[in-house]
Each structure stands twice: as structure tokens, then as C-alpha cells.
């Protein structure tokens, strides 16, 4: 079983948005931490790797879309 960090990395690709306001960066970091906690909790609850990745992906979808929309035009 891969560890939580690996599963989060596998589920959610890092997105580069260039210079973002510090407040947005803080939200992104908190979101990543939340996914990590979720991955850990799911692993501890005995969920399989694939299931964890799927849940992480679905949990993160709208956040990623909202972030991409918000940062449209910003180049890394």
C-alpha cells in the first residue's frame, strides 16, 4: 500500500499558476493538507488504494476547477 502522500500525488497533479496572492497559496496548501488527512483516514479505515485515489480525485475536482478559473491568464 502506497502512503498517503503518494496517493495524493497520484490523485491530484500539482498545478502551477505562477504568482498568486499569498491568501490563495494558503488556501491551496490547506486543501493539500486536507487531502492528505483524508487519504490517511481512509487508509486507516481499511480502504483500498484505488478507492482512496478515486475519492481524493472526486473530492478535489471542483476545487481544481474553481482554482483554474480563478487563475485564468496567470502563467507559471
Amino acid at each position: 500500500m502506497a502512503n498517503a502522500s503518494d496517493l495524493v500525488r497520484h490523485a491530484v497533479q500539482d498545478q502551477a499558476f505562477g504568482d498568486l496572492p499569498p491568501r490563495v497559496n494558503e488556501v491551496i496548501e490547506r486543501h493539500r493538507q486536507s487531502l492528505l488527512y483524508l487519504a490517511n483516514a481512509l487508509i486507516l479505515a481499511g480502504r483500498g488504494e484505488d478507492e482512496v485515489v478515486t475519492i481524493l480525485q472526486r473530492s478535489s475536482e471542483s476545487f481544481s476547477i474553481a482554482l483554474a478559473t480563478m487563475t485564468q491568464g496567470l502563467k507559471p
Partner: protein, 339 residues
């Protein structure tokens, strides 16, 4: 930013309802349409924890509002019977294993009747400023003991909801003036127009443009210009009602959507804002004076937001043309003739 809690002389956290309500109001989500992203999370929680009912509940003045829910069948309940109102009073999971055996809930109408709550687990949605605006909660219709890992799973989902709320706030609020951005304002007003089609009530728009703002920037600098914009919106907020929607359309142009406001009410409100703006004073710039021109239009049956804004904009143009610092009403007959 004030802190969410202070400690009383017993070292116990006191509940700051006023600050909490302000934190909720800043999110501008209560009463809005159901939120797809939260519905997705609610679906995931429901499946992952195998529960019949899950909701994102926001605790407003006197009600809890479900911005996403599954298995409930209602959009809101009175606050005084809400389990979630108990949950937001401490920064920890709130657990009821069997409501019928809990003296706080045994006679609760949500236990005795629909949805027949027996077990409840609610995680407070704690914003970065420390205020708890609502919960992510799961509800069962049988007694249930929630395991530590289930609690951890729900806590993680709750922090994802909080992150979404925060991101949305950043995206929808103009960073300088703290009112809705153009995109967010347009989206909210379109929702309100749809609502008035279902539940007819008057809706008016006031467009506001600061007079000679370029001159303010040129003479006093952009920092002072920004300060004028900020204080203009503070003046607007002093006058508008809680449920009205001020937004920044761009530059020195703002719009306010007045819910359930007739033309006469909108004209009167615009006039009061005009007076407030005229009274703005800046201690470090004694000679600086402000004024604004206003265009007002009230929604006609079957009218779109674009048409409404066009009339308000024409009225604003008329106010500028007639010498600025005044309120003008959109030409309703013009639309009626072309409809």
C-alpha cells in the same frame, strides 16, 4: 480580525454569535442556489460512510440552511431545533449516538417526525478567522456509534468544504472594496431574477459611478483613489439592507441589486447613498470632496439582466449629462415599446 472566542473567567470559550454571523455573511452563500461542488462532497460522504442523510448546513440568524444535502427533502429548518446549532458551539466533532436517549433531543421534532434523526455526527466548518459558520453532518435513522476513523474521514471532508468556501470567497469578492466582483455580482443577480420569476417581487438595480474619479487619482494619487473607493462602499453598506447585493463592476463603477425594492424605494435609497458619499471626509486630505452619479432601473416582466443594466446605464449616463451628483431613473417606456 477579531477572534472567534474569548475565554471567560472559567477558562471556557465564549460564543461570539455576532462575529460568527458576520463571518457567514461574508461568504454570501445563504439563500443562494444549491451548490454543485458541495453536493459532490455530500454524495462522497454518504457513500464513504454509508449514511442515509448528509448535509452542508450553514447556521444563519434563525435558521439552518442546507447549501447541499442528500436524504433530507427540505432546504432549511428553524435554528432552534437544529442539531448543527449545538455542533458549532465547540471546535470538535458533535456526536449523538441515540437522540431518543439524549435529553437535549428526545423531544425534538426532527427526532419525533421527519427525518426521524436517531444518530448524528457534525463537524463544525471552521473558517480561517476561527468562526464556525456551519457543519458538515451525517445523520442516521438508527442508533449508531461512530468510529474514530469515521470521525477523521468526516473531519477531512469538512476541511475540504471549508477550503472551497474560502476559495470561492476570494474569487467572488473584490479585494479592495470587499463587495462582489463583477462576475460574482452578475451571477447572483441572475439567480435573483430567476427567483422573482417564480415568486414575483420587485427588483431594482442602482448603478453608481464616482464623479471626476480620474481627477482624484491624478491630483491625490492612486492610494487616495483606492481609499475613496473603499469609503464609498462603506457608505453604501451603511445604507443598503443586509440582503441587498452591492458589487464592483470595474474601476469606479458599482452596482447594487435591491431585492424586493420598488422603483420609489430604489430611488430613495440611491438618494441616501448619494448624500452619504457627499459627506465623505478624509482627514489627511481636507480639500478632497466626493460625489457620484446614479442610474436606477426596476426589473420589468420577462426582462433580462442585460436589458435591465442597459436601462440603468442609460439613466446613469443621463445623470452625468445633466451635471453629475444626482439620481436618474431608467426609461421604462422605452423597454415597453421595444418588448
Amino acid at each position: 480580525m477579531s477572534s472567534a472566542c474569548a475565554l471567560d473567567h472559567f477558562g471556557k470559550a465564549k460564543f461570539d454569535e455576532h462575529g460568527r454571523q458576520q463571518a457567514l455573511d461574508r461568504l454570501q452563500v445563504v439563500g443562494a442556489a444549491k451548490e454543485k461542488p458541495f453536493e459532490r462532497i455530500v454524495d462522497l460522504v454518504k457513500t464513504t460512510l454509508d449514511v442515509p442523510i448528509c448535509a452542508v448546513s450553514l447556521i444563519d440568524h434563525d435558521r439552518q440552511w442546507f447549501t447541499a444535502s442528500r436524504g433530507l427533502g427540505v432546504d432549511q429548518t428553524p435554528r432552534n431545533i437544529a442539531f448543527c446549532d449545538h455542533a458549532i458551539r465547540a471546535d470538535e466533532p458533535f456526536i449523538v449516538e441515540d437522540a431518543t436517549r439524549d435529553h437535549r433531543f428526545a423531544n425534538n421534532p426532527l427526532v419525533l417526525g421527519d427525518p426521524h434523526i436517531r444518530s448524528y455526527l457534525g463537524i463544525p466548518l471552521k473558517m480561517p478567522d476561527g468562526y464556525m459558520v456551519g457543519t458538515l453532518c451525517v445523520i442516521g435513522q438508527k442508533p449508531r456509534v461512530f468510529s474514530p476513523s469515521e470521525i477523521e474521514i468526516l473531519k477531512s471532508f469538512a476541511s475540504l468544504v471549508t477550503g472551497e468556501l474560502e476559495l470561492r470567497t476570494i474569487a467572488s469578492i473584490d479585494g479592495l472594496t470587499n463587495v462582489l466582483s463583477r462576475t460574482a455580482w452578475t451571477s447572483r443577480v441572475e439567480s435573483e431574477i430567476i427567483r422573482t420569476e417564480r415568486y414575483p417581487s420587485p427588483l431594482s438595480v442602482v448603478m453608481l459611478d464616482l464623479d471626476h474619479f480620474k481627477m482624484t487619482n491624478d491630483c491625490f494619487g492612486h492610494d487616495v483613489g483606492d481609499m475613496v473607493l473603499v469609503h464609498t462602499m462603506i457608505a453604501v453598506r451603511k445604507v443598503v439592507r443586509k440582503h441587498d447585493l452591492p458589487g464592483r463592476l470595474g474601476g469606479e463603477e458599482f452596482a447594487i441589486c435591491l431585492i424586493n425594492a420598488s422603483t420609489a424605494a430604489a430611488m430613495a435609497l440611491a438618494e441616501r447613498i448619494r448624500m452619504e458619499i457627499m459627506q465623505l471626509r478624509f482627514p489627511e486630505h481636507d480639500e478632497l470632496r466626493c460625489s457620484a452619479s446614479f442610474g436606477v432601473a426596476t426589473l420589468e416582466p420577462s426582462e433580462t439582466l442585460n436589458q435591465l443594466m442597459k436601462r440603468a446605464d442609460e439613466a446613469l449616463y443621463e445623470a452625468k449629462k445633466r451635471g453629475r451628483n444626482q439620481v436618474q431613473l431608467g426609461n421604462d417606456q422605452l423597454l415597453a415599446a421595444t418588448a
